[in-house]
């Protein structure tokens, strides 16, 4: 950290160029998601021009096979993709971290049960498992979210358990036990506060991955249903229109930048928060 401060005086140590780029990109897409209706763009669900028109002054990213504005759909798509990512990561962290913490803290057969469940889940390739769950539940964004949570929770369970196992042997915990602290107090006041850092870093990095997998599910028809402007579904529509490259370009570029943004941000966050990762 100290080194970074020396190189760029006046900037906080964590704000390296990649982090700045990541932050800017993520901020842009979050702003786009919140303000998509205020940009004065065409209705993303209605036919507004002739179909399959290439990019022009009136429609910066052209129109799709139904004559809808691709730019408008891409910006409105941010709302859907970011919401999915936020909900999935929040749910996966909550579920995974809770189970992992209990497993690590209680130990014994509870630990065995939870960790075997984790092992079984992680034994499936994530994309295949998500597809299987989504296909069983049927198409729809809600079902895609359930499928993604089912894929992602074990990572956090494993991470949290490892953290809890490590922290619970520290001296301050033993001191708290000696002072007569109950299990609930031990876990919530003395152990968990020290376990969140890697979970947070992982969660930031995972946002991008969740957006990717959600788009993949929609691409193969297991996520968003028409006419929802979801990025993966839009790319799927564009894939059938080979000579109209612009249909897939908007959402493709959006996914590329937002995933890159979250990866940069996660990297920076790790460097800043995780004292063990040497620079």
């Amino acid at each position: 950290m100290a080194e970074a401060v020396r190189i760029r005086p006046g900037l906080p140590g964590w704000l390296t160029p990649p982090v700045a780029v990541g932050l800017a990109v993520v901020a842009f897409w979050v702003a786009a998601a919140l303000t998509a209706d205020l940009w004065g763009l065409a209705d993303p669900l209605r036919m507004v021009a002739r179909r399959l028109q290439p990019p022009s002054g009136a429609h910066w990213l052209g129109t799709d096979a139904l004559g809808r504005d691709v730019l408008s759909r891409t910006l409105h798509g941010a709302r859907i993709s970011l919401t999915i990512a936020a909900v999935v990561v929040a749910a996966a962290v909550s579920l995974g971290a809770a189970l992992g913490a209990i497993a690590g803290f209680v130990g014994g057969w509870v630990d065995g049960l939870v960790m075997r469940l984790v092992d079984v889940t992680l034994a499936f390739p994530p994309v295949l498992l998500a597809m299987a769950v989504a296909a069983t539940l049927g198409p729809g964004l809600e079902n895609a979210v359930v499928a993604l949570v089912a894929v992602w929770w074990p990572v956090y369970a494993r991470l949290m358990r490892a953290q809890v196992l490590e922290v619970r042997t520290r001296e301050h915990v033993e001191a708290a036990i000696a002072c007569g602290a109950g299990p609930m107090r031990l876990l919530t006041r003395h152990i968990l506060p020290l376990c969140w850092t890697p979970v947070l870093i992982n969660a930031t990095m995972d946002v991008g991955q969740v957006i990717l997998l959600a788009a993949a599910l929609s691409f193969i028809g297991l996520g968003a249903t028409p006419p929802t402007p979801e990025w993966g579904a839009m790319i799927s529509e564009g894939a059938t229109q080979f000579y109209s490259w612009w249909i897939a370009f908007g959402p493709g570029f959006a996914i590329l930048t937002v995933v890159l943004g979250f990866n940069f941000l996660g990297d920076g966050l790790r460097d800043f928060l995780d004292t063990r990762s040497a620079r």
């Binding site: 179909r51 096979a65 028409p226």
Partner: protein, 539 residues
């Protein structure tokens, strides 16, 4: 099958050497082009849907191509897609009330193994088609008996007058199979054949017909390979070999045509075809007999409104037919009046559907439907005949939205769709249909809302009395008994009934894009057989 396409390259590479040799030994050089054409291989890029290659079991568009090339029927459908022409039968007679059909077999007709085609083979094959109880077995529903007074005469008796029997017998599924060969490989034809017959696997690797080609090899999800029948009893096919390659999407089919890896493709959608600018590729849109329709579940479960006849009429009037054709097939399609393909008996002069929003809104208001109503729209998420159903249904959603009907779109796989429509019905859906033989009767039986018909069940009409049409069975019987000059009129009357029932709302008959390399001749679309391979030559 790894040796398949390289084999073609080898033959091309070997050709110059062979020709040089021919020239060297002093034969006329004029023979060279003919020799080249005679050895030509025709490659077709196609997304295949083969379920079986047993004529009595198969039921698919690609099956029509393969079966009509490897087997022959008593009669064929002429190039005008209307006239019945001789094939194995050189002549036939029909009695006055159209219940007894007598065929005289062509004496020259031979199977690929050299054996003569006899009336016993014909009777055995039709009997087998009936008793296997497979998908195409319904074609034999009205057949009471097949008699063989002598080796060259076949007499078919029907249970009721049937003006369409000749059209049915021209379907590739009514193929005449070499009985001796098939029986030696486990085929059975009598009662109980559906359980006793063991030949399905054998037919996937072999053919036993009299057609211009024989089945050389079939590798599922890869290719079908046909070889010219060397001893064909009529004029031999111009190409020595046909390879149908499995190519899933329209864009790849177009690219293969442009690169020369394929000679013919028939499933290139209109948007992709518009992007093909290669001067060596001929793009020929042609009217097809396929159509795509919106279907209403008059008695579907859980609807917030009662889907009475005026409501169904309003939905029909709210659809923007021209817009749908423009969006789904880039304008390369035709409107269609009734659920019977344009050009089939009874379709001439029917009123084409058109959008009338004011009338649609008025009808809905009269039916007491004010404000917005949400209807479920489960549909198969397929792309067929160039129509992407996701795009179609989004357009239908927009159109119906204009009259206050909101569709909740649910794309599903075909099996899931079939289960849903059977179990609970679906208020608004979309499906497609292609003819199984030339004749309008099949459409009346399938789409009419007479008791027990497929769409009577799918639309759950039993719960929507005003959608049941009890007049159809009598009208159909009359149409099937009608003399040739009255058939059109009789089917037109049924078509008008089906239009008024408004369960099936046909939205587009997509044009078929015949795309082929320059130098390929004789490519045409057939109502019975899809693509008649024996007529195609390569320059």
């Amino acid at each position: 099958m790894l040796d398949t396409i390289p084999a073609r390259r080898h033959s091309r590479r070997a050709r110059p050497f062979a020709l040089a040799l021919v020239a060297l030994i002093g034969l006329s050089p004029a023979l060279a082009p003919r020799a080249q054409a005679a050895e030509a291989t025709l490659v077709i890029a196609r997304d295949m849907d083969i379920t079986s290659l047993d004529p009595a079991r198969a039921f698919c568009d690609t099956c029509q191509i393969v079966l009509s090339a490897t087997y022959e029927r008593l009669v064929d459908l002429g190039p005008d897609n209307r006239t019945i022409v001789p094939l194995l039968a050189e002549s036939w007679e029909v009695n006055a009330d159209q219940t007894v059909f007598t065929f005289k077999l062509d004496e020259r007709a031979r199977f690929a193994d050299g054996g003569q085609v006899t009336s016993a083979d014909v009777a055995w094959s039709l009997e087998r088609l009936k008793h296997l109880k497979g998908n195409p077995s319904f074609l034999m529903d009205g057949v009471a008996a097949v008699e063989t007074p002598d080796a060259r005469t076949v007499v078919i008796r029907t249970t009721a007058p049937n003006s369409e029997l000749l059209g049915i017998l021209a379907a590739p599924y009514a193929a005449v199979v070499n009985r001796a060969v098939a029986e030696a490989n486990g085929a059975k034809a009598g009662e109980g054949a559906d359980a006793a017959d063991q030949a399905d696997g054998w037919f996937l690797a072999n053919s036993a017909g009299s057609g211009p080609f024989t089945l050389a090899a079939y590798a599922p999800d890869d290719e079908v390979r046909l070889a010219r029948n060397a001893g064909y009893w009529r004029d031999a096919a111009p190409v020595a070999q046909v390879v149908i390659k499995q190519v899933k999407d329209s864009v790849t089919q177009a690219q293969m045509l442009q690169s020369g890896a394929a000679d013919i493709a028939m499933q290139i959608d209109a948007d992709t075809a518009a992007g093909v600018t290669d001067p060596n590729v001929v793009i020929e849109p042609t009217a097809s007999f396929n159509f795509v329709y919106v279907a209403l579940g008059a008695g579907a479960d859980g609807m917030p409104i009662s889907m009475t006849r005026p409501v169904r009429e309003a939905i029909g009037l709210a659809l923007d037919y021209e817009g749908i054709i423009d969006l789904t097939v880039a304008g390369k399609g035709r409107r269609i009046a009734a659920p019977i393909p344009n050009g089939f008996p009874g379709t001439e002069g029917l009123p084409l559907p058109a959008r009338d929003l004011d009338r649609a809104k008025a009808l809905l208001a009269e039916a007491g439907i004010g404000g917005r109503v949400t209807l479920e729209a489960v549909y198969p998420s397929v792309n067929i005949y160039g129509v992407d159903f996701d795009i179609l249904m989004q357009k239908v959603q927009q159109d119906l939205g204009d009259v206050g009907l909101d569709l909740a779109l649910q794309p599903v796989t075909f099996p899931v769709w079939r289960e849903r429509i059977t179990a609970t019905g679906i208020p608004v859906t979309a499906v497609y249909y292609a003819p199984d033989y030339f004749g309008s009767g099949q459409y009346v039986q399938f789409f009419g809302t007479q008791e027990g018909s497929p769409w009577y069940k799918r639309s759950h009409v039993a719960k929507a009395p005003d959608a049941v049409n009890p007049r159809i069975p009598d009208l159909l019987a009359a149409a099937l008994a009608a003399p040739a000059e009255k058939v059109d009129e009789a089917f037109a009357a049924i078509a008008r009934e089906m239009i008024a029932d408004r369960i099936i709302l046909p939205v587009v008959s997509p044009d078929l894009t015949l795309a082929y390399r320059k130098g390929v001749k004789g490519v045409r679309y057939s109502a019975c057989c899809n693509l008649p391979l024996a007529e195609i030559s390569v320059e």
